[in-house]
């Protein structure tokens, strides 16, 4: 509750800081201080200090799962701001407004991670989506950015329509938006419930860009300004996954044997399309867009399995994936050439950046001693724990092996090829934050309990 209110207020504060503060560094500092405050306030709530006690009539419940994910999201955003806040300057003239939109998105994220009512889910998803449409199109004079924004807006509002339709059908049957009372389903659910559940499944799959609802993702991630792609593909995607798993556990948990096969098919399709298409990309940015689809496939495993390991694993996965991808995007923003060849000889000229990027890429590929490995391990363990569909796990392992190919292409270009890539100005803060991120990735890869103990205490 602390973070929910504070993030909304901070959004308004950022709106006005654009009017009253003239210098860009002042605006940036306000945003970073606000973000740190948000993180602190959320951690305080985890240890029992709740500043506002508001009766939400059971529509929002801040349990451990929600609070821990919020902390992960806020920490990732804080690191993201340290790395890329300066690059947001180059996007357009409304510098403070971009930060305001980011804070509003975080407000939506706190809602989607803690909803107990379908109405709050809808509200949260919309509060996340609408600022994203704007951020995608924020590079106003770039045609690709405009196209991405329009595409995202049209398809996104269509899928939101599907979600509303699903909620309406479920309300028609149950007469309630409360997830607990929806879950009181007997052996044979009515046609309304099943149709509503499928519509919700489709719209959530769209929001997390799971195949076959992924078609918007590459174009949008490629067209949006790279700083915002970084935010969109990591923190927002993880937040929607948290909503996804919450929705299907709390509202449709009793129907698990009915939707599990569907979820398995979506998982396989997402893994296959994401990984295989990423292999053929020439631009690193577009490769990362497909890689985020592929990683979504792994996160889908947790929604499919839906047991204790799955929830733990999803938290670890969202941290591992967010840290690594934010790091890679931050380096990518500093490049002038986004193709694989643009990274040729990067290690010789920027040894520190190349080393940290390598750690991030290894983590995404799932190499041991990095957070990505353990995150994938948890996912596969959860999927095995269901005792069904062994082929799903085998397929996921094969696809993880395929992903090594395109992640290592970047490493190969950085270390084993000659070249002199032009790089933008790099500040000491940027370097130190990258080192901290890389350290976090390795630390979580060795001691995942540093994060997961928070889930229980």
């Amino acid at each position: 509750m602390n973070a929910l209110l504070l993030s909304a207020v901070l959004g308004v504060v950022m709106m006005f800081s654009g009017i009253w503060l003239k210098s860009k560094s002042a605006i940036r500092n306000v945003a970073i201080v606000g973000m740190a405050l948000l993180l602190v306030v959320n951690i305080l709530e985890m240890s029992g200090m709740i500043f506002f006690r508001i009766d939400t009539k059971g529509m929002i419940v801040f349990d451990r799962f929600a609070l821990l994910f919020d902390s992960i999201a806020f920490l990732s955003t804080l690191l993201y701001l340290f790395l890329s806040a300066q690059d947001i300057e180059k996007v357009g003239i409304n510098y403070a407004d971009y930060f305001a939109l980011i804070f509003f998105i975080l407000c939506g994220i706190t809602l989607t991670s803690s909803f107990k009512s379908l109405l709050i889910l809808f509200l949260g998803v919309e509060i996340i989506s609408i600022p994203l449409y704007i951020l995608t199109g924020s590079d106003k004079r770039n045609l690709k950015s405009n196209e991405a924004s329009l595409k995202y807006f049209l398809l996104g509002s269509f899928s939101t329509g599907l979600m509303l339709m699903g909620i309406a059908l479920i309300y028609g049957d149950k007469g309630s938006f409360d997830t607990n009372s929806i879950n009181l389903i007997t052996e044979t659910p009515s046609a309304l419930i099943v149709a509503g559940m499928l519509l919700l499944l489709f719209s959530m799959a769209f929001k997390v860009s799971a195949a076959p609802f992924h078609f918007w993702a590459p174009d949008v991630y490629d067209g949006a300004p790279t700083v915002f792609t970084s935010f969109m593909a990591t923190i927002v995607k993880a937040a929607v996954f948290i909503a996804f798993i919450r929705l299907f556990e709390e509202a449709f948990g009793n129907l698990q044997n009915k939707w599990q096969l569907l979820m398995a098919i979506i998982t396989v399709a997402t893994l296959f399309i994401g990984n295989i298409t990423a292999v053929f990309q020439q631009s690193v940015k577009r490769m990362l867009a497909y890689s985020s689809i592929a990683q979504a496939g792994f996160m889908m495993l947790s929604v499919y399995a839906m047991n204790a390991e799955a929830k733990e694993g999803l938290l670890l996965y969202s941290a591992a994936y967010s840290f690594a991808t934010i790091g890679i995007f931050a380096v990518l923003i500093k490049m002038k050439d986004y193709t694989f060849d643009g990274f040729n000889g990067f290690a010789k000229h920027q040894p520190l950046l190349a080393a940290t990027t390598t750690i991030f890429l290894l983590s995404l590929a799932g190499i041991p001693l990095t957070a990505g490995f353990l995150a994938k391990f948890y996912m596969l363990k959860a999927a095995l724990g269901t005792g069904k569909y062994l082929w799903l796990v085998i397929f996921a392992v094969i696809m993880a092996a395929v992903s090594v190919y395109y992640y290592f292409r970047v490493i190969q270009a950085m270390y084993f090829k000659e070249g002199d890539p032009p790089v933008l100005q790099i500040t000491p803060v940027f370097k130190w934050t990258l080192v901290i991120l890389a350290a976090l990735v390795i630390l979580l890869g060795i001691f995942p309990n540093l994060l997961l103990t928070w889930y229980y205490f």
Partner: protein, 131 residues
Amino acid sequence: MIHLLQTGLNSADSGSFLPVAVQFIIATGLVAFLMFVTHMLGPKRKTTDKLQNFSSGIETHGDARQPMAIKYFLTAILFVLFDVEVIFFYPYAVNFKVLGWNGFWAVMLFVGFFLCGFIYILKKGALKWEE
């Protein structure tokens, strides 16, 4: 997916949807039939006057797709925004006494955010007409 829907349908009385299906078929069929009949049977006399766009009897001139100042759109969209927000006061006015002080503070919060938005657009110069 289909077997899912079927399991659902078995419990409900699926036969009761038959009139709805018949209604759908008749509705689409009637539209298709009338379109077909008017195009086939009606006489076709095309003159330049008839082919012109109908705009309330006034002669058309120029292209509708010429660029317009963004100010018009901005003012219009802001009007819609604030107009809709004002509508929220009606239900509050009806339930003023029932909601008590809690309701009052909730509405004050709403008005506070609302004012923030208003000051924001003023300061951003969205309503400056001469520029």
